[in-house]
C-alpha cells in the first residue's frame, strides 16, 4: 500500500500544474454507490489510461468529466478553477470532448456538418448558413489529422473507422484541450489503429490531454504515459505506465475479496456428470455477426458461466440459442436431439428460457401487474373454453411470488413499481412458469443491490439443483466465480478458454478475455 501511495504522489516528467484534477468525486444512482472518493489528475500532452473491469465506474467518471452527470461529492478543478458543469454543453464549450464507444454522428448529414455541429455555424447576412465556409473549415480540420475525406459526402457512406475520424475531427473543431476516448479501437482494423495512434501522437504534441479507455493491454502500454485503475467505483492506484506491467495491472483491476458473495456448494464430482447426456450442446455455432465456431456442452444441474468483455459476442451467442439471431453455421442439440430454432416460440417449446440483458427494454411488460408478468408466458395452460381462469392464475402467481421471495405489495401491483432486484425475480419467475430445461441468463444481477444479488444467486443455485442446465453471462468476475461450476471465456466471438471451477481465477479469466496469450 505504501508503494501505491508513493506512485500517486509522483507527477509526470514535466513538473507542472494539472489541467484538470478531480478530488474525492462520488456518485450514486438510486442508492447504489457507483463512484466513491475518486481522485484523478490530467496533464497537458499526456495519454492517461483509465483502467478497470466492466462496471468499475470508468464510464461514470468519464461522464462526470464531460458534464453528462453531476457528481454528488468532491470537486473538479479545471485550469485552476473550481468548476461545476450543469450540462454537457458547458464542458464542451470549455474544451472537453468525448469520443463515445458508440459513434454518435447523424448519418444523413454531410461530414462537414457533423464535424461543425457543436460550433455555431457561420451565417450570411440573410441569416442563412454559408455552406462553403463549413466545408472549407471541415476540410482544414480533416487535413490536420491526415484524412482526405470529402466534407461534402454523407456520413452514412463511411466505414466505421472513417466515422471515427469524423468524431475526432469534431472534437478538434471545438479546440478541445481534454479528449476522452472510450474504447476507440473496438471496431477498428490493425491498420486503422496505427493511423489513430499517429493522430493521438500528433494531439499529444499539440498539448491535448487524452483520457484513454481500453481493455487492450498492448495498446495501453504502447501509447499511454500514465494510468489510473478503478475497481468497484474506487480509485485503486495511479502512476506512470513505466512502473507497471500487464500482470500487475490485471491484479490491480480484479483484486477483490469474494467473501460478501454467494458461493455455490459443489458436491457432485465431474466424472459422474460426464456420463450423463448434456441438456444443451452446441457444435460449431456461428451467427452472421460476431459469434464464430462455438462448441460447448451443459449437463443437467450444471451452471456454466460465460465470461468475456463487453462486445465479445456472449449476448449474441445466447440470442442465437434462443432464436433471436440467425444461426449461420453449426448445430444446437437439446437432450440429444438436433433442433431447429427459428424464433423464441420454438425455443420456448423446447424448454429454453432466456432472461435478457436489459430488464426494462426486453424483460418486463410495463403497465401490467406482477401477476401478469409472471404468468403471461403460460396463460395457455389456464384456459377453459378459451376463457382465462383467473382463480388458478392468481394461485400460481402467489406461489411464484412466495417461492422466489418477490417483495411486492400484492400480485396486482404494477411491475414498474418494484426495485430492480425484485423486477429481475419477476422475470425469472416468468420463465420458471414454463418449466424450462435450459435457463439462459444474460447479466442476471446488473443494476441490482448486493442483497438481492445474493438472493438471485441462491435462486439460480436452487434451479440447478432441480436439474436445469444454466448458462449465465456475467461481467462480474466474483459472480462468475462464485456461482459457476465451469467457466467459458469468449473473446472476439470465439471461445477462448474453458476453465473448471478449481482452476479458474479472476486473473486467468481476464487474461483470456483480453485476448492475451499466457
Amino acid at each position: 500500500m505504501n508503494e501505491t501511495k508513493k506512485q500517486q504522489m509522483q507527477h509526470p516528467s514535466k513538473n507542472e500544474q494539472p489541467i484538470m484534477s478531480m478530488k474525492g468525486v462520488a456518485k450514486q444512482f438510486s442508492g447504489v454507490k457507483v463512484l466513491q472518493n475518486v481522485d484523478i489528475e490530467l496533464f497537458k500532452g499526456e495519454v492517461h489510461a483509465l483502467m478497470g473491469e466492466n462496471g468499475a465506474g470508468k464510464s461514470t467518471l468519464m461522464k462526470i468529466m464531460a458534464g453528462v452527470y453531476q457528481p454528488d461529492g468532491g470537486s473538479i478543478i479545471y485550469k485552476g478553477e473550481d468548476v461545476r458543469w450543469n450540462h454537457p454543453m458547458d464542458a464542451r464549450s470549455k474544451g472537453i470532448s468525448v469520443i463515445h464507444q458508440e459513434i454518435s454522428l447523424s448519418p444523413n448529414l454531410s461530414i462537414g456538418e457533423n464535424i461543425l455541429m457543436g460550433t455555431s455555424l457561420k451565417k450570411n447576412r440573410m441569416g442563412l448558413i454559408k455552406w462553403n465556409d463549413i466545408y472549407e473549415k471541415a476540410e482544414k480540420i480533416l487535413t490536420s489529422i491526415g484524412s482526405s475525406l470529402d466534407p461534402r459526402a454523407d456520413v452514412s457512406s463511411l466505414s466505421v473507422a472513417q466515422q471515427q475520424m469524423v468524431e475526432i475531427a469534431r472534437a478538434l473543431s471545438l479546440n478541445s484541450e481534454i479528449l476522452i476516448m472510450d474504447e476507440p479501437t473496438a471496431s477498428l482494423t490493425d491498420k486503422e489503429i496505427e493511423k489513430l495512434f499517429t493522430i493521438i501522437d500528433e494531439l499529444k504534441r499539440k498539448g491535448v490531454a487524452i483520457v484513454y479507455i481500453s481493455h487492450r493491454m498492448d495498446e495501453i502500454f504502447k501509447i499511454s504515459n500514465r494510468f489510473t485503475v478503478l475497481r468497484d467505483g474506487r480509485m485503486v492506484t495511479s502512476g506512470p505506465i513505466s512502473e507497471t506491467n500487464p500482470t500487475h495491472l490485471v491484479k490491480l483491476m480484479v483484486g477483490r475479496e469474494l467473501n460478501e458473495l454467494f458461493v455455490r456448494k459443489r458436491s457432485e464430482n465431474d466424472t459422474e456428470k460426464k456420463n450423463q447426456q448434456p441438456v444443451l450442446e452446441l457444435k460449431g455455432v456461428s451467427d452472421k455477426k460476431i459469434v464464430k465456431n462455438v462448441s460447448l456442452k451443459i449437463y443437467p444441474g450444471e451452471i456454466v458461466g460465460l465470461a468475456g468483455l463487453v462486445g465479445a459476442g456472449r449476448t449474441e451467442l445466447v440470442r442465437t440459442i434462443f432464436g433471436l439471431s440467425e444461426l449461420s453455421e453449426g448445430e444446437i442439440i437439446i437432450e440429444g436431439n438436433l433442433v431447429q430454432i427459428k424464433n423464441p416460440i420454438d425455443a420456448i417449446k423446447l424448454g429454453i428460457a432466456h432472461v435478457p440483458e436489459s430488464r426494462k427494454e426486453q424483460g418486463l411488460l410495463p403497465n401490467l401487474s406482477v401477476k401478469e408478468n409472471i404468468m403471461m408466458a403460460q396463460y395457455f395452460q389456464y384456459r377453459k373454453f378459451r376463457i382465462l381462469q383467473y382463480k388458478k392464475i392468481n394461485r400460481e402467481a402467489d406461489r411464484y411470488i412466495q417461492e422466489l421471495g418477490v417483495r411486492t405489495s400484492s400480485k396486482e401491483q404494477n411491475v414498474m413499481g418494484l426495485s430492480g432486484g425484485n423486477q429481475q425475480k419477476v422475470v425469472i419467475a416468468k420463465w420458471l412458469s414454463i418449466g424450462p430445461k435450459v435457463l439462459l441468463l444474460d447479466e442476471p444481477t446488473r443494476g441490482v443491490d448486493i442483497g438481492a444479488k445474493t438472493e438471485i444467486h441462491k435462486i439460480i443455485n436452487q434451479l440447478a439443483e432441480k436439474g436445469l442446465a444454466v448458462l449465465m453471462i456475467s461481467s462480474e468476475l466474483p459472480e462468475i466465480l462464485g456461482v459457476s461450476d465451469r467457466i467459458i471465456v469468449m473473446h472476439e466471438g470465439r471461445l477462448r478458454a474453458e476453465l473448471t471451477h478449481a482452476e479458474a481465477t479472476q486473473e486467468k479469466i481476464m487474461y483470456y478475455a483480453t485476448g492475451e496469450v499466457k
Binding site: 434462443f322 433471436l324 423464441p344 416460440i345 425455443a347 420456448i348 432466456h354 435478457p356 427494454e361 426486453q362 424483460g363 418486463l364 411488460l365 410495463p366 403497465n367 401490467l368 401478469e372 403471461m376 408466458a377 396463460y379 395457455f380 384456459r383 378459451r386 376463457i387 382465462l388 383467473y390 412466495q402 421471495g405 417483495r407 411486492t408 405489495s409 401491483q413 413499481g417 418494484l418 426495485s419 425484485n422 416468468k430 414454463i434
Partner: protein, 326 residues
C-alpha cells in the same frame, strides 16, 4: 412472509387526498360523464325524455362499434384510419348483394366479411413488413373509399329488402336494434380483452413489443387479428348504417375514424399503447354524444358545437397526461 411495500406512496397511511386521487384514476371519465348528464338534465329541455335518451344511444351506436375496434388497435400502439371507408364499402357491398337476390343474412355476413378482409390486410402490412400503421391505414382509407365509388358509380344504392332495414332501423321491445348490437359488441370485447390470452397479449405488445416477443407471444399473428377485429367491426357498422339509411352510400362515414379515435382517447386509452380499457371507450363515446345532443337541444350553433367538441378532446387528453404522471 414479510410484505415490504415498494410503492412510492405507502398505503398504510392513505390520506384523503390519495384516496380521492385513486378514485379519480379509476372512475375518471365516468365522473365527468355523470356531471355532464346532470348538467344537461337541468339546463337542456327534454334531455331526460326516454325518447331523447334512446336517440342519443342510437346515434352513438355506430361510432361506439367503430371505437371498440379502435380501442384494441390503439392498445397495441397502432392506429386504424380506414374504418370510415371500410364502413362505406361494406354497406355498399351488402346492399348490392341483397338487391341482387342474396338472402339477407348472407348479404350482411358478406358486408362484415369485407371489413374483416380489409382489416386483415392492414394487419398483415403492419405486422410483417412492419410498415407504420398510420401509413398503411391511410392508404386503405383511400383505396377502400375509392372502391366503394367505383362499385356504385358514385351514387347511393337504394335498399330493396325490408328485412335488411331491421338491423339499422328496427326495434326490439321499443329499443332500437343498433343499441343491442352495440351492447353485445362491448360485452364481447370486454370478455376478450380481460379474459382471453389474446386480450392479454394485446396489452403485453402495446406495453413492450420486444419483451412480448421474447416472452414467446406471437406478435405478428396477434397484430393481424387486432386489425382484423377493427375491420370486422367496421364492416358490421357498415351493415347497420345501410339498414338505417335504407341504402348503401359510398360517401357515408367520412371522418368517422376521427370520432372513434376521439372517443378512445377520451376513454383514457394511452396513445402509446398498453394502457386502457374498453369500458373507458364507451364512456368516451357517450361524453361526446351527450355533449352534442345537449348543445343541439340548447340550440347551440352547429359550428360552435364543433369548437366545443374539439376543445373538450384536447382538455381530456391533457387531464390524462397529468393523471399518468403521478
Amino acid at each position: 412472509m414479510m410484505n415490504i411495500n415498494v410503492q412510492s406512496t405507502n398505503p398504510t397511511v392513505v390520506t384523503f387526498k390519495d384516496r380521492s386521487k385513486q378514485v379519480f384514476n379509476q372512475l375518471g371519465m365516468l365522473i365527468i360523464l355523470a356531471l355532464l348528464i346532470a348538467v344537461m338534465s337541468v339546463i337542456a329541455p327534454n334531455f331526460t325524455d326516454s325518447s331523447n335518451i334512446l336517440n342519443v344511444l342510437k346515434q352513438s351506436s355506430i361510432t361506439a362499434i367503430l371505437a371498440a375496434g379502435m380501442t384494441v388497435v390503439i392498445l397495441t400502439g397502432g392506429i386504424d384510419l380506414s374504418v370510415g371507408s371500410t364502413l362505406a364499402l361494406s354497406g355498399v357491398i351488402s346492399v348490392l348483394l341483397s338487391n341482387a337476390g342474396a338472402p339477407v343474412g348472407l348479404a350482411m355476413l358478406a358486408g362484415a366479411g369485407v371489413g374483416y378482409v380489409a382489416g386483415a390486410i392492414n394487419g398483415y402490412l403492419t405486422a410483417v413488413p412492419k410498415l407504420p400503421a398510420f401509413i398503411v391505414t391511410l392508404g386503405s382509407m383511400t383505396y377502400l373509399r375509392g372502391l366503394a365509388y367505383v362499385i356504385t358509380g358514385g351514387y347511393p344504392v337504394v335498399l330493396a329488402s325490408e328485412k335488411f332495414k331491421f338491423i339499422g332501423a328496427g326495434e326490439i321491445f321499443g329499443i332500437p336494434t343498433p343499441i343491442y348490437i352495440m351492447a353485445i359488441v362491448y360485452f364481447i370485447m370486454f370478455v376478450i380483452l380481460k379474459y382471453t390470452m389474446f386480450g392479454r397479449h394485446v396489452y403485453a405488445i402495446g406495453g413492450n413489443e420486444e419483451a412480448a416477443h421474447l416472452t414467446g407471444i406471437k406478435v405478428n399473428r396477434t397484430l393481424i387479428n387486432v386489425y382484423s377485429i377493427s375491420g370486422l367491426l367496421a364492416g358490421i357498422s357498415g351493415v347497420v348504417m345501410a339498414g338505417r339509411l335504407f341504402s348503401g352510400q359510398p360517401m357515408v362515414g367520412i371522418a368517422f375514424e376521427l370520432d372513434a379515435i376521439a372517443a378512445v382517447v377520451l376513454g383514457g386509452t394511452s396513445f402509446v399503447g398498453g394502457r386502457g380499457r374498453i369500458q373507458g371507450t364507451i364512456i368516451g363515446v357517450l361524453i361526446v354524444a351527450v355533449l352534442t345532443n345537449g348543445m343541439t337541444l340548447l340550440n347551440v350553433d352547429y359550428y360552435w358545437q364543433q369548437v366545443v367538441k374539439g376543445i373538450v378532446i384536447v382538455i381530456a387528453v391533457l387531464l390524462d397526461r397529468l393523471r399518468s404522471k403521478n
